[in-house]
């Protein structure tokens, strides 16, 4: 029995993605705590290892060692399936992202759509987690997560659609190939409005501050994951970081020229841009206070959505001219 080489390629890609997510989880935990520390004029973690580099390992060991507890009245099936449902789609999301000229898990014509479709599952996971915990804070967190992510998904899709219209494709590699090595040849120069809308919506979709209402700790304890302990919480946490990487990767591919760059093109440019975006997201979190819920919805429905529609219309006019 011979196995198709494509299948082997995908299997290897999935293993590499798993390693990438795990490693990035560790790096981002350290980076986030360190950046937060310096922004707040304190050193951040520095006890465990040089510059606190081993701190995320200690955190991970602590999480793995903790007991998994389920509230007595919680629905057991839904309660335990929610963190798994939040984490597993992440593997699919990375599969069609072109990290380098040849470094891609699977060439797929509808790669962009695949990412958008499967990232929607996270909301479902948050909802199930919030509902099945049988806790009013969890339920409120879940209700907020739904209202927020359904609302912000619309301008996000419209912003992405503008890029798809411009090049007439949903294939991420093709979109990268249409851009050049120099920064002024990137899509962010022709679609600046779409980039800003995409970035704001993406930060809101991942429930990061200043849009972290589903887990606002000062109001809702911890929101939808109040009742989760140990690795069940760890999976939600890892999924959140993975989604941050995914949205940064998609932003890099769509707007910042992907693996193109001055000098030698390659995955190093890609990673550099992704990490720059992640740093901006972390920076935003520790700079701005949380928005109020009415502000959150007003920004979306009164500003982002009309702007995204106007942007789409302008794109259409320019493409057809």
């Amino acid at each position: 029995m011979n196995i198709a080489p494509e299948l082997i390629h995908i299997a290897v890609a999935l293993a590499a993605i798993a390693a990438f997510i795990g490693l990035n989880g560790l790096v981002l935990v350290w980076l986030e705590r360190k950046v937060a520390g310096h922004i707040q004029r304190r050193p951040g973690p520095y006890e465990v290892g040089p510059w606190g580099l081993l701190q995320p390992v200690a955190d991970a060991v602590k999480l793995v060692g903790k007991q998994l507890v389920r509230p007595k009245v919680a629905d057991p099936w839904l309660y335990w399936s929610a963190p798994l449902l939040s984490f597993t789609p992440v593997f699919l999301l990375f599969l069609t992202i072109p990290f380098g000229p040849r470094l891609i898990g699977m060439e797929f014509n509808l790669g962009l759509l695949l990412i958008l479709a499967f990232s929607g599952l996270n909301v479902l996971a948050l909802c199930l987690a919030g509902w099945s915990s049988a806790n009013k804070y969890s339920l409120l967190g879940a209700a907020r997560a739904v209202a927020q992510s359904i609302a912000y998904e619309i301008p996000l899709l419209l912003a992405v659609l503008a890029i798809a219209f411009q090049f007439g494709t949903l294939n991420l590699s093709t979109i990268v190939h249409h851009q050049g090595p120099m920064p002024w040849q990137w899509n962010v120069m022709t679609q600046p409005l779409a980039f800003i809308i995409y970035f704001i919506c993406a930060v809101a979709e991942t429930n990061r501050a200043p849009f972290d209402l589903p887990e606002a700790e000062s109001e809702l304890t911890a929101g939808f994951h109040t009742e989760y302990s140990g690795m069940a919480f760890g999976l939600f946490f890892l999924a959140e970081y993975a989604y941050i990487i995914v949205i940064s990767c998609v932003a890099t591919v769509l707007f910042l020229g992907g693996w193109h760059g001055p000098g030698a093109p390659g995955f190093w440019w890609f990673l550099l841009k992704v990490y720059a975006l992640i740093m901006v997201i972390i920076w935003l979190r520790w700079t701005y206070p949380r928005v109020r819920f009415d502000q959150l919805l007003n920004i979306n429905w009164k500003w982002l959505l009309p702007l995204a529609l106007v942007n789409l219309l302008l794109t259409l006019i320019f493409v057809k001219m």
Partner: protein, 169 residues
Amino acid sequence: MEYLAYVAFGIYVLIILTGGLMAVLCRSMVRALVGLILTLFGVAGCYLLMAAPFIALMQILIYVGAVSILILFAIMLTRAPAGAEEAPYIFPWRSIAALAVAFLPLAVIGGMIRSGQVTPLVPPTEVPLAELGQTLIEPYLLAFELISVILTVAMAGAVILGFERRIGK
């Protein structure tokens, strides 16, 4: 490779049936909804098997990612959280009638297959996205626009209903 398609079809049908049974038999509304979502996933898999990945992904994006989440939202707003949802257990007659109705399409389709000549279909090929769009706005333009009108009417209706209730209070 053909047997792989049969295996995949078997798995998808199993997913659809399990989801369907969950949706019908579960006492808890949220579990029933999870069953529905499972079914929608299985249907998306069947689209994949028919070489229509665009439709499959749209199914997941719209039905799983938006519609079912709105249903979940509605359940969360109307019902007390968790614990078992109380639904009285109805036995015999209704269940039997429901089963009979479920087997009706099987009988109809089975009869058609037995009476007529069934030729195996050619393996489906993927339709390019541009062609799909072209068919939507050329031969099927009227139907396409009518769907938007229906959606607009439904949305306007929902808004009017919401406002009327508020005035009534």
